[in-house]
C-alpha cells in the first residue's frame, strides 16, 4: 500500500516543486540586463534634465515613472540645490547617498523591511549641464540574489515553495490512498471469513470513483453475506428433511423384522444395509458442505495431539471389523522428547474428525493381521514452496507437527495420489463394497486440516502400503470460517 501513496505523493510533489523552481528561474532569467541600465546612466540623467527643462516637473516625473515601469529601476535626479526633478518623495537613505554618505553596507537600518530584502545596487552619476551639477541616483532591480540569499535564511523562498507543495501533495496522496487501504483490508477480512467486513464508505458526501468503489464493495459484501446465510439455512432445513423419512424408514424396517419370517430376513437385511449407507452418505455430505461454507466456524482451544491420537488409535483398533489389524501410536524420539504433548491451538472436533478419518481409512485398507502405525513428529524447519505429489493446500513456513499414518495395504498408484483427497474419489470404479465407505472420509479430513492452515500428503511406502501425513503448523492461528478449495 505504501507504494501507491508514495508514488502519488512523490510524483506530485516533484512536479509541483520543479515547476515552482523553474518559474523562479525563468523570472530571474527574464530580468532586464543590469549592465544595460548601468551604462545608460548618463543618458538617463541627460534625458531627465532635458525633460525637466522643457516640460517642468511633470515631464521629468513622467519620464522617470516610465523608466521605472519599463526598466524596473528607481531613479532620482537632483539639481544642485537637492531638489528632486520629478517632485517625488525621496527615501532618506537616497538623500544620504546624494549627500555623499556612502551606504554603509547592505543592511541599512532606516530601510523598511521590504527595502531591506532588496540588495542595494545603487548607481550614482553626476552631470554638469549649463554649469549646473545634476545628480542621478539609480536603484537597480533586484538580482537573483534574493533567491539565492545573502540573508540568515538561505534558500528561504525555495524552502517555502518546497514545504508548502509537499504539504498539499501529502494531503492529496493520502486522500487517494486511504480509501484503497480500507478497501483492501475489508476484502481481506471478507475472504478470511468475516462476512460482516465492510469498506465503510460514507453514505453521502464524496462521489468520486474511489468512494463509489467502496460503496460497490459494501453492496457486494452484503449480497455475499445474505447468500451464505441463506445457504446455511437451506443446509439445515434439507438435513432435517432428509432425516425424517429415513427415521421412519428405519422404524418401519424394525416393524417388518418383528413380523418377519426367516425367508424375508435376508431381504430385510439388504434393505437395512442400503438404508445405513444412505444415512452415512447424507451425514458425510452435510459435514463436507458445512466445512466448505465455513458456517461451523472454528472454536479454538488447546489440544494435546498426543492424547487425541492415542485415543483415536485405541478406538480404531477396537472398532475395525473382526479385529483384523492392530493400531499403534507413538512419537518420534528423534524430533521430540518423550513427555512432549504436541500441543496445538485448534478446533478439537474438526481435528478429531480428520485424524479419525485418516486412521479409519488405513484400517480399512490394510492387509489382514498387519499393524497400522501412527507416528507423531515435530518438524522445525521451514518448507520449500514446491508441492510434492499427492498434497493439498499450502505448505507451511513455521515449525509443524506431523502425524504419520502408515498402513500395510495395497497403496495407491502414483497418478491417483493427488486425487484421493477429492470427494467421492475411490480407487476402483466398481465401488468395491467390501472396503466400504463412499470416498468422502479423506476429503472431510483434508478440508478440516486445511482450515487449520495445514495439509495432507499421501505417498507410497517403500515396503508397500500407503503413508498419509497430516501436517499441522504451529504458531499461526487457524483461519476463521472459510477455506476455499486450494486445488482444482
Amino acid at each position: 500500500m505504501k507504494s501507491l501513496f508514495l508514488k502519488i505523493f512523490l510524483s506530485f510533489w516533484a512536479a509541483l516543486a520543479l515547476s515552482l523552481v523553474l518559474a523562479i528561474l525563468v523570472t530571474i532569467a527574464l530580468q532586464p540586463p543590469r549592465r544595460g541600465i548601468a551604462s545608460q546612466g548618463l543618458q538617463t540623467l541627460a534625458e531627465t534634465v532635458n525633460a525637466y527643462q522643457s516640460g517642468g516637473e511633470h515631464a521629468a516625473h513622467d519620464y522617470l515613472e516610465a523608466l521605472g515601469h519599463t526598466q524596473h529601476v528607481r531613479a532620482f535626479v537632483f539639481d544642485p540645490s537637492g531638489h528632486e526633478l520629478g517632485g517625488r518623495m525621496v527615501p532618506p537613505w537616497i538623500e544620504d547617498v546624494r549627500r555623499g554618505v556612502p551606504p554603509r553596507d547592505t543592511s541599512l537600518h532606516h530601510r523598511t523591511w521590504m527595502d531591506s530584502l532588496l540588495p542595494d545596487r545603487i548607481m550614482r552619476e553626476a552631470l554638469t549641464l549649463d554649469g549646473k551639477r545634476y545628480t542621478l541616483i539609480l536603484e537597480l532591480p533586484p538580482g537573483p540574489g534574493v533567491f539565492f540569499g545573502r540573508h540568515d535564511l538561505p534558500l528561504l523562498g525555495i524552502s517555502i515553495a518546497i514545504i508548502s507543495s509537499g504539504l498539499i501533495c501529502y494531503l492529496l496522496a493520502w486522500s487517494m490512498a486511504s480509501p484503497v487501504t480500507r478497501l483492501r483490508r475489508a476484502a481481506q477480512s471478507l475472504a478470511a471469513g468475516d462476512l460482516s467486513a465492510r469498506a465503510g464508505a460514507p453514505a453521502s458526501g464524496r462521489h468520486d470513483e474511489l468512494t463509489e468503489l467502496m460503496r460497490d464493495f459494501d453492496r457486494m459484501a452484503d449480497r455475499i453475506e445474505r447468500l451464505v446465510e441463506s445457504q446455511s439455512r437451506l443446509l439445515k432445513d434439507v438435513s432435517h428433511e432428509l432425516r425424517s423419512p429415513l427415521a421412519r424408514l428405519s422404524v418401519a424396517l424394525g416393524l417388518a423384522r418383528q413380523r418377519a419370517t426367516p425367508e424375508i430376513e435376508s431381504s430385510l437385511n439388504r434393505i437395512e444395509l442400503e438404508a445405513d449407507r444412505l444415512n452415512q452418505l447424507i451425514q458425510r455430505l452435510l459435514t463436507i458442505s458445512r466445512l466448505e461454507s465455513g458456517t461451523d466456524g472454528l472454536h479454538k482451544s488447546q489440544i494435546s495431539l498426543r492424547e487425541l491420537v492415542e485415543e483415536v488409535a485405541r478406538d480404531a483398533e477396537y472398532e475395525n471389523p473382526g479385529r483384523r489389524c492392530r493400531v499403534t501410536a507413538s512419537s518420534d524420539p528423534a524430533s521430540s522428547d518423550p513427555e512432549d504433548e504436541f500441543l496445538v491451538e485448534a478446533d478439537p472436533e474438526l481435528l478429531r474428525s480428520a485424524v479419525e478419518n485418516v486412521i479409519r481409512n488405513a484400517t480399512r485398507y490394510t492387509s489382514e493381521g498387519t499393524t497400522v502405525e501412527v507416528r507423531l513428529e515435530r518438524n522445525l524447519e521451514s518448507h520449500s514452496k514446491q508441492e510434492p505429489i499427492g498434497s493439498s493446500g499450502d505448505a507451511s513456513q513455521d515449525g509443524e507437527i506431523i502425524i504419520r499414518v502408515l498402513d500395510c495395504g495395497p497403496g495407491v498408484p502414483d497418478e491417483a495420489l493427488p486425487k484421493i483427497f477429492e470427494p467421492f474419489y475411490r480407487l476402483d470404479d466398481a465401488r468395491n463394497r467390501l472396503t466400504g465407505g463412499a470416498g468422502l472420509g479423506l476429503s472431510i479430513a483434508d478440508r478440516a486440516i486445511r482450515l487449520h492452515n495445514g495439509q495432507l500428503r499421501a505417498s507410497n511406502r517403500k515396503e508397500g502400503g500407503l503413508q498419509v501425513e497430516i501436517r499441522i503448523p504451529e504458531g499461526r492461528p487457524p483461519v476463521q470460517g472459510f477455506a476455499l478449495p486450494a486445488h482444482s
Partner: protein, 239 residues
C-alpha cells in the same frame, strides 16, 4: 428380564414416526403416549405418570433443550434425547443439561428399545434383596445407594441418575482404575462403541459437580490410555 408395562412418553413433532414407534414399542411390551409439541410434552412429563421420556431436540416452537431444561428443573425423570446424527453439539449440550442418554436419528428401533430398557433399569431405586445398600464414603464424598443421594463435605450434590451410577461404580472401585469400556457397559448399559465420547462427558459433569477435593484437584482422575479412577485421599492408587 421381566417385561413390564412401562409407560413411556414420546415428544416428537413427526406424527407418522410416533405412530410407527408406538407400534414397535407396544410389541416390545411398552405402553406409549405420544405428543407432538414441546408445551404439551412438558405438561405431560411433569404429571409424573411416566417411567421415561423420549424427547426430540428438533422441536418446532419451544425447542427440545428448553423442554429438557424445564423438566430437569423439577424432576429427575429419565430422559432419552433423540438428536440429529452428526451434530455433536446436540449431544454435548443435551448431556450437559441433564439427559440420561441420547440416540441420533435415524435410529434402529432395536437400539431405541435397548436404550430405553437400560435407562429404566438404572433408574430403579430399589435393589435386589441380596444387595445390602450401605453408604459409600471416600474422602469427603458420601454416596447412599438406598436414597440415591450424594453428599460432599456435608453438602448435598444434585446428580442425574446416570451421574449417580457413574459415581457409584467409581467409588466402589476407589483407588483402582476403571476402564472406559467397563464404565460404558455398567453405567450406560450398552456396548462400548468406539468414538463415542458420552461417557467422558458424564465424567466431566460429575467432576464439576463434585468440585475440587481438599487435597489436590479433581476427585476423579483421568488415567490416560485406560480410564478413570476415584482418588483415595492420601493413599497410593493400586493399578
Amino acid at each position: 428380564m421381566v417385561k413390564r408395562m412401562d409407560h413411556v412418553l414420546v415428544i416428537d413433532d413427526d406424527v407418522e414416526l410416533c405412530s410407527l414407534v408406538q407400534e414397535y414399542l407396544t410389541a416390545e411390551g411398552f405402553s406409549l403416549k405420544a405428543v407432538h409439541d414441546g408445551e404439551q410434552g412438558l405438561q405431560q412429563a411433569l404429571t409424573n405418570n411416566y417411567a421415561l421420556v423420549v424427547l426430540d431436540v428438533m422441536l418446532p416452537g419451544i425447542n427440545g433443550f428448553e423442554v429438557l431444561r424445564r423438566i430437569r428443573s423439577v424432576s429427575k425423570i429419565p430422559v432419552l434425547l433423540l438428536t440429529a446424527r452428526g451434530e455433536d453439539v446436540d449431544r454435548i449440550v443435551g448431556l450437559e443439561i441433564g439427559a440420561d442418554d441420547y440416540l441420533p436419528k435415524p435410529f434402529n428401533p432395536r437400539e431405541l428399545v435397548a436404550r430405553i430398557r437400560a435407562v429404566l433399569r438404572r433408574a430403579k431405586p430399589t435393589r435386589a434383596a441380596d444387595e445390602v445398600p450401605e453408604v459409600l464414603s471416600v474422602g469427603d464424598v458420601d454416596l447412599d445407594p438406598a436414597t440415591r443421594s450424594v453428599q460432599r463435605a456435608g453438602q448435598p450434590v444434585d446428580l442425574t441418575s446416570v451421574e449417580f451410577n457413574l459415581l457409584e461404580v467409581l467409588l466402589r472401585e476407589a483407588g483402582r482404575v476403571v476402564t472406559r469400556e467397563r464404565l460404558v457397559n455398567a453405567v450406560l448399559s450398552r456396548k462400548f462403541m468406539p468414538f463415542d465420547r458420552s461417557i467422558d462427558m458424564h465424567v466431566s459433569k460429575v467432576r464439576r459437580k463434585l468440585g475440587d477435593s481438599e487435597e489436590d484437584g479433581d476427585h476423579i482422575k483421568t488415567i490416560r490410555g485406560v480410564g478413570y479412577m476415584f482418588a483415595r485421599p492420601a493413599a497410593k492408587p493400586k493399578k
